[in-house]
Amino acid sequence: MKLVNPLTAIFHPPPTPGVLAVFGHLDTTVDAIGRLHAAGHTDFTVYSPIPRHEIEDALDQPVSPVRMFTLIGGISGCAIGAWLTLYMSYDWPLVLGGKPIGSVPPYVVIMFEMTILFGALSTILGILFNALFAARRLGTVAYDPRFTNDKFGIFVPSQPARAGQVESLLRGAGAEEIRRA
């Protein structure tokens, strides 16, 4: 009897069925996105070697939640900086240079640095979490290595019965190459 590793389902999920189109031009890609929207598709993936505002505008996506990570990280960093300096000063009060024990102006420097540190680190976590770990269908949709070089691509998940329709739509928009996954 063959043993099945239960983690396989998590780490090697089965591929999503659908149609992958390769585009050589930005304008044809944007046109295809428009046609897909018009045909009622919402769940497709667009590949591009660089971020382009044209694609972003055509997709009309909500603003990335990464900014909340930055905000929360920054505020917590500032709070930790304030706690660190004030708690450590009052834990063993020593008068230095005749200044008050908890003298805020010099502590602002620490608070500022901690704001930046925590803000930056949580931004990175936000990007990793949203773009990699929590990304939908990551690693299950078809891909072509030319998408990081000079080609644009669109993957439309669809059942084999409807794939023909999607194919003709993408071809009409100017896809250079189409294949089913």
Binding site: H25, R67, G74, L117, A120, A131, L138, T148
Partner: protein, 447 residues
């Protein structure tokens, strides 16, 4: 304005040209690497002597207890600054020319901070107690003194190192993915791991671009703060020549000035070695030269202001300190600084110099030398001429241990930099493509 790149440069050209730099290295590369490692070896030997015999070997004598090591620390932190300026501040200003040079500058930042971080550790004497810098209570429950600029400095440098490293790594991810997709063999496997699943999907770009923007926005005030905090290590003390409110902007401008010069020093050989003439053009060097000129003029103005205030302020000790700088036993250091930083950048007003790569390279080396001497003058010469216990002032002279460890720091820095440019794309693939016209079928892109 010169064309940033020739019309031959397409998306595919960019990927291939930059991926090619990661191939098997040639003789020139190994020669440079061997030089760097040899210099590092010299530094390590000197450091071992220093560990064995103590800081007396560094020539410290009352009142000069901050000398070449602290000079090197400030110098290397300064070098680091232009990287973040080019990658973050110019990013926020949407300046297109930065794309070809920012990766080199950013890598330089990370390695320069790494180098700088070694010097306080070398300087403390009992290097094995370096962990005392970390904020935790000692055996009697006493915490570090947060009113001390040295503790601010530790936080600033620590934050700067962390943030510039993550900024560099984040920018590398899409480029590593691009290299992964054209590489073969074991390189492909290595880059596949480093690219952590990047495929350039719309979801990934959506989070990436937003996050990158916020990181740039956080790094911008950070870069201005770090050298301000470094300057307060001095300005918060009462030593004449240090105790000035001018110090923060003066140090930040000087840092960017020396950093831009170092970027030019590094880019000239890299461009030649990796045949990147079509990606990094004279246009990019000219813009770097303009940045160098601007910051150089701010530095020159700071020199004038400093001297003017010393005279106009009427404080006899301050006046004496500046007289000692210019005409005391360290006059050669002061005049090297004035000539290299104050006079030489005026050559950059000429377009002929700005567009002459070799000329720029020479000017940039002089600026590096001048900026090292600026820190030497500020730190060592101000201390050597201290008026507080004049009768007890001894003569200070740098020793072979100082010069050896300084040479070692250059070896350490260039070693990391050379290893980096051969392992990871030294020019950003995706960002260079961003400033190229996108391929369009219908019409020629305005981009």
């Amino acid at each position: 304005m010169a064309e940033p790149q020739s019309s031959r440069v397409s998306y595919d050209f960019v990927t291939r040209a930059i991926a090619r730099t990661l191939g098997t290295p040639g003789k020139g590369y190994f020669a440079l690497l061997a030089t760097a490692v040899a210099l590092l070896g010299v530094g390590i030997v000197c450091l071992l002597f220093l560990l064995r015999y103590g800081l007396g070997l560094a020539g410290y004598s009352h009142p000069v207890y901050w000398a070449v090591y602290i000079t090197c620390f400030v110098f290397w932190v300064g070098i680091a600054h232009s990287g973040t300026l080019i990658s973050a501040i110019l990013f926020l200003f949407r300046s297109g020319w930065r794309t070809a040079v920012y990766r080199t500058a950013e890598a330089m930042t990370v390695f320069a901070v790494m180098t700088a971080g070694l010097f306080p550790l070398i300087h403390i004497g009992r290097q094995w107690y370096f962990y005392w810098l970390i904020p935790y209570p000692n055996e009697r429950g006493l915490w570090p003194n947060f009113k001390s600029p040295l503790i601010w400095d530790e936080f600033a440098i620590g934050t700067y190192f962390t943030v510039s490293t993550v900024f560099l790594i984040l920018g590398l991810i899409p480029d590593i993915a691009a290299v992964r997709d054209v590489a073969t063999g074991w390189r492909k496997k290595l880059y596949a791991i480093c690219a952590i699943g990047w495929r350039g999907t719309n979801e990934q770009w959506r989070h990436f671009t937003r996050g990158y923007l916020y990181l740039a926005a956080l790094a911008t005030p950070l870069v201005l703060s770090v050298h301000s905090v470094v300057s307060w290590d001095f300005a918060m003390a009462l030593v004449p020549g240090w105790h000035a409110t001018l110090f923060a902007p003066y140090f930040v401008a000087g840092a960017i000035y020396s950093g831009v010069a170092m970027v030019i020093t590094l880019l000239v050989p890299i461009r030649k070695l990796f045949h990147l003439e079509e990606l990094i053009t004279v246009h990019h060097f000219e813009n770097l030269a303009k940045l160098c000129l601007l910051t150089g003029l701010i530095v020159s103005m700071s020199y004038c202001t400093e001297n003017f205030v010393a005279w106009f302020g009427g404080n006899p000790h301050e006046r004496e300190a500046f007289w000692y700088r210019a005409f005391g036993p360290f006059w050669w250091a002061s005049w090297t600084m004035n000539i290299c930083n104050g006079l030489l950048p005026w050559l950059l007003w000429s377009k002929k110099v700005r567009t002459n790569i070799l000329g720029l390279f020479v000017v940039s080396i002089f600026v590096n030398v001048g900026m090292w001497f600026e820190r030497f003058v500020i730190i060592v010469v101000s201390l050597a001429g201290e008026p507080f216990e004049r009768f007890a002032n001894a003569t200070y002279n740098p020793t072979w241990a100082d010069w050896g460890i300084m040479a070692g720091s250059f070896g350490w820095f260039f070693m990391w930099f050379l290893l980096f440019v051969k392992t990871f794309p030294a020019v950003s693939i995706s960002e260079v493509k961003e400033v190229l016209p996108a391929p369009q079928r219908g019409k020629v892109a305005a981009s």
